[in-house]
Subunit: 596 residues, 2 copies
């Protein structure tokens, strides 16, 4: 069940003009192929050189950013999971005992994580109610009355909502005191007096049982993903495994429902469903456009829901921060895109036959060499239809606009939240165009001007969006770069596999033999980069931490910062709430910590 359905029309329409510029016009054994061969070498070396420089630049920027940053709670804090509890002590006591014993000089405080899903629902309810109340109060002329029940008396809505809000606040307070006593998870944020102290606790294995006292770096306080907080090692591990399996299944089987829906939209089916279109569909041009574009449109719509699905899967995988969830979702969407757009288009046939290709690694280059060049014109069209349009729609943000208009009508609020860029939606998209450029540049160079136009557009539009539209929800500190790097390396190796296949196909076996070292060298280059740069993206080195700690040792503001640090990782659901009395300061306590 490939996506051949929708691409046939593309290639039919464009074959005549575009195929002039593809490698299929080069004769078997032609000397011209050596130009392609040298192009493969030169471009690989050039890209690797650029990747190296960029990795170096970004890692130095990352260090520079750290040096210039103010003291931030997440630099001083780690998250500890799998806290063992003895019979007669609480989680909090257990943490206190452990860290005062083993990290006496650096340990500052801790904050045990609670299960607050119930509480969070109550608070959301209170929040909505108070908003409605505020809206009613702000327009005193519109004080409305309503019948309660079928035969009930008329009541003042402001009065009614006010009472209800007080009730909810009461139960929130009750629940809060319950939660803080009973529903402790076996996880806690532990803060230290220095960055170096936190780093020591993070890097060193703490316990003789490596599944207990598992440490990881804490995210920024506003970045913590409170809802799903799996604390035990086994649960995190199992949910991770389940999510990986779910992801692989989704990635492999995604096209089945898509193709089924696409199959329902053939001409005759459309005519039966929407008879009024009959007259239009009989015109050949419209018929072609609809059968050509409708399946593509359906695919695009299905693809739109993938980033949220992947984000959801990542969120139940046990990550503790929005940033980690987005990073993980970004990887998932990237592999999904490469599989479901590149490989699904290139290899027609059933899902199983596609999977089986990868079970015979020896034949991959040969199969790629046959299938990839055949789809050149489809992908050129794809750059235009999907790339150009998506980047332009990014500028106008039509869907968020409609969505915001609709919600503003319904909810009667004037609130405007500044959006943040969904990295897991946009990075894979751009990287996929990078993959197309790298794999097709020597097969069908005509794709390059289209891609260049896309990239220029993307650069201008995203620059604008970053400056004027989006506000980052968290500081990435360059942590997404390794994904970009790995994706480029994968593109290069894929391109080498295709090139080896092509040269074998064109009976230029010397060239294909001479190409063999290239993927090996590229992978070695990648291995070197992993050793040279990746550690900086995982954790800051001791040198940097100690220098930064020393710099601030004498700053008087630090005492104040430590005071803040102690409560920085408090669950926003456990903060005292006050909506009913003072309606002026509405939302403040929640907004300051949870929404931004």
């Amino acid at each position: 069940m490939g996506t051949q359905l929708h691409e046939i029309d593309f290639t039919d329409l464009s074959n005549n003009s575009l195929d002039l510029f593809t490698i299929s016009n080069v004769n078997i054994g032609s000397k011209w192929l050596w130009i392609h061969f040298s192009a493969v070498y030169i471009v690989t070396i050039f890209i690797c050189y650029q990747l190296y420089n960029e990795y170096k630049y970004i890692s130095s920027e990352r260090i520079a950013y750290f040096y210039s940053s103010k003291p931030q709670p997440h630099q001083f804090t780690i998250l500890v999971r799998g806290i063992p509890v003895s019979v007669c002590s609480s989680v909090s006591e257990s943490v206190e005992t452990f860290f005062t014993e083993f990290h006496p000089t650096t340990y500052l405080s801790h904050m045990v994580v609670h299960r607050t899903s119930k509480l969070r629902n109550l608070i959301n309810e209170a929040k909505t109610l108070s908003k409605r109340l505020l809206h009613l109060q702000s327009e005193p002329s519109q004080h409305t009355y309503r019948h309660i029940g079928l035969f009930g008396q008329r009541v003042d809505l402001v009065d009614h909502y006010g009472k209800k809000l007080v009730d909810i606040e009461q139960s929130v307070r009750l629940e809060q005191s319950n939660v803080s006593l009973a529903e402790e998870t076996r996880a806690a944020f532990v803060s230290f007096k220095s960055r170096y102290g936190a780093a020591i606790a993070f890097h060193l294995p703490q316990s003789t049982n490596p599944t207990q006292w598992v440490t990881e770096q804490a995210p920024e306080p506003d970045d913590v993903y409170w809802p799903f907080f799996s604390s035990s090692f086994m649960r995190t591990w199992i949910s991770k495994l389940v999510v990986i399996v779910a992801c692989i299944l989704l990635t492999i089987l995604f096209l089945i429902p898509v193709v089924v829906v696409q199959g329902l939209t053939n001409l005759s089916q459309l005519e039966t469903w929407l008879p009024f279109l009959k007259s239009i569909l009989t015109i050949t041009f419209f018929g072609q456009v609809i059968t050509g574009y409708l399946p593509n449109l359906i695919l695009q719509l299905f693809l739109k829901i993938v980033p949220p699905i992947m984000e959801f899967l990542s969120s139940i995988q046990g990550y503790i921060s929005h940033s980690d969830i987005e990073k993980s979702a970004c990887k998932k969407v990237l592999w999904f895109t490469i599989w479901n757009i590149f490989f699904a288009t290139v290899f027609s046939g059933s899902v199983l036959s596609k999977v089986s290709i990868f079970l015979e690694p020896k034949n991959i280059p040969a199969k790629l060499a046959v299938a990839v060049p055949a789809q050149a014109s489809f992908f050129i069209a794809y750059v235009v239809t999907s790339g150009w349009t998506s980047i332009s729609s990014e500028l106008f943000r039509i869907i968020p606009l409609i969505f915001s208009l609709v919600t503003r009508c319904c909810k009667n609020t004037d609130e405007l939240e500044v959006p943040s860029l969904p990295y897991h939606r946009d990075i894979p998209k751009i990287l996929f165009f990078g993959l197309l450029g790298i794999t097709y540049f020597f097969l069908a160079p005509l794709i390059l001007p289209f891609l260049l136009a896309y990239l220029c557009l993307a650069y201008i539009i995203f620059s604008n969006q970053f400056i004027n539209v989006y506000m980052p929800k968290y500081e990435t500190a360059g942590k997404f770069w390794p994904i970009v790097h790995n994706s480029m390396i994968f593109s290069l190796v894929l391109m080498h596999a295709i090139a080896i296949g092509i040269f074998t196909l064109k009976k230029l076996s010397i060239a294909s033999t001479l190409l063999f070292p290239l993927p090996v060298l590229t992978l070695l280059f990648n291995a070197y980069c992993r050793k040279r740069f990746l550690p900086i993206f995982i954790a800051y080195p001791a040198e940097v931490l100690i220098k930064k700690d020393k710099e601030e040792a004498s700053v008087p503001a630090m005492a104040e910062f430590y005071d803040k640090l102690v409560t920085a990782y408090r669950d926003p659901a456990l903060m005292p709430i006050q909506y009913s009395v003072n309606s002026e300061s509405l939302n403040r306590p929640l907004m300051s910590s949870a929404d931004f």
Copy 2:
């Protein structure tokens, strides 16, 4: 170029009696196969349960050993490589500056590593000479005179050697002072005041450039492998890559020379070379034995040189201690054995055809299912011929005996060094019999009594050898167990692959489908064990280190220990030597630190 040559005779001889008990007698689609099926499940679960218990036991023993150990230099020391040096400072100054700045409270001292290969040769020369001198002096009646040169005068040998020794010692001292000034490598042993301090420096990335200040745990001082001391990150990395490639090539291509030599030993060839054997060879029995065993003997002799080769390869891979070299060689020999005895026997045909089997992972079970049961009788014979004989020869240590007799005759020394067990030779051997047991127990259960006999023998003999013969050169502290664990897991998964193939071959596709979860579950079990136990085998956790440090904080003997620690990692080649004057204390300074 398989080893079919030599196994044909085995199977011919034994087919009649042994094949009665193999799975090939079970009819296609027979109900009896379900017994094999359940045996596969039960044995897998049993082995995994045992592996879990054993891993748990050994890791707890490892911790207990650490708690009970006296303070040892390697617990307080790390090795730092890739030390950056500025223009105007030496390596030693650079280390001093770095660690006093970043680890001021815990840093104790350091010892820069020097290039001493030249010096080591000189010292060896002096050592040999002094031994000879001692031998001559101890038997004054045998004072011999010798002509120097063709027409030279007669000289007193004691006098002659004495003078020569003084000369060499002179140049050693000169060289020592040179070396300690000039030939510094960019590596140093850095000692700390506490185990925890050393662990912090080991675990935390030190520098903004992860290829500089690369830290690793120091080995025991006597375990340090001084000769090959690659200090820069790039050199270590490249030599590692080269060694891996060399190992793979050796493993894959090893059989080519073996088969060529084996081919030279067919009957007619032997008769031309050794005509006096002609009369014996014409007797059918002798002919059969020779053509059957001679190729096998040649294979065995070739196999004997593999552990030293692998040890050599590991030693140039950049490991810093004999124990690491042996551990790495142990893994190499294990894979070599599995490839060159198991797979080479099972899959006949050229090397390339064997490699190509692994390029089509889908077909591996089917091919295994056909080939593995056919070799059952060969492997039963192998257990007897190779296993039983090798373990008995271990008891008598014939080769070391002959070797020691020969050297004693030549060298005239009465010295007896206590040997240490070459783990990299014996562990792979035993593990390979484990692999045979696991893969053949349901194909040809007749192998089990033979294996049992082997294992009982091995247990008794090795117990004896450990108590009475060998002396460990270093404390392994259970570090070899993960190799055993991984090898067992590999054997299980291999057995599952064979079982799936067999059930497909016997047209019992439900059984083969039902087996699919088993390898997945086994690998998950392994992944869990890696998380649960492996970290303990890499480094001791903070909890243990801090407790141990605290225990000893008040012990007065620690001051003395610190004094020793400062000089513990001195290169033995840089120690002052004195052979010529005081012949009583010969060898002492060297023996105490370098030989044991």
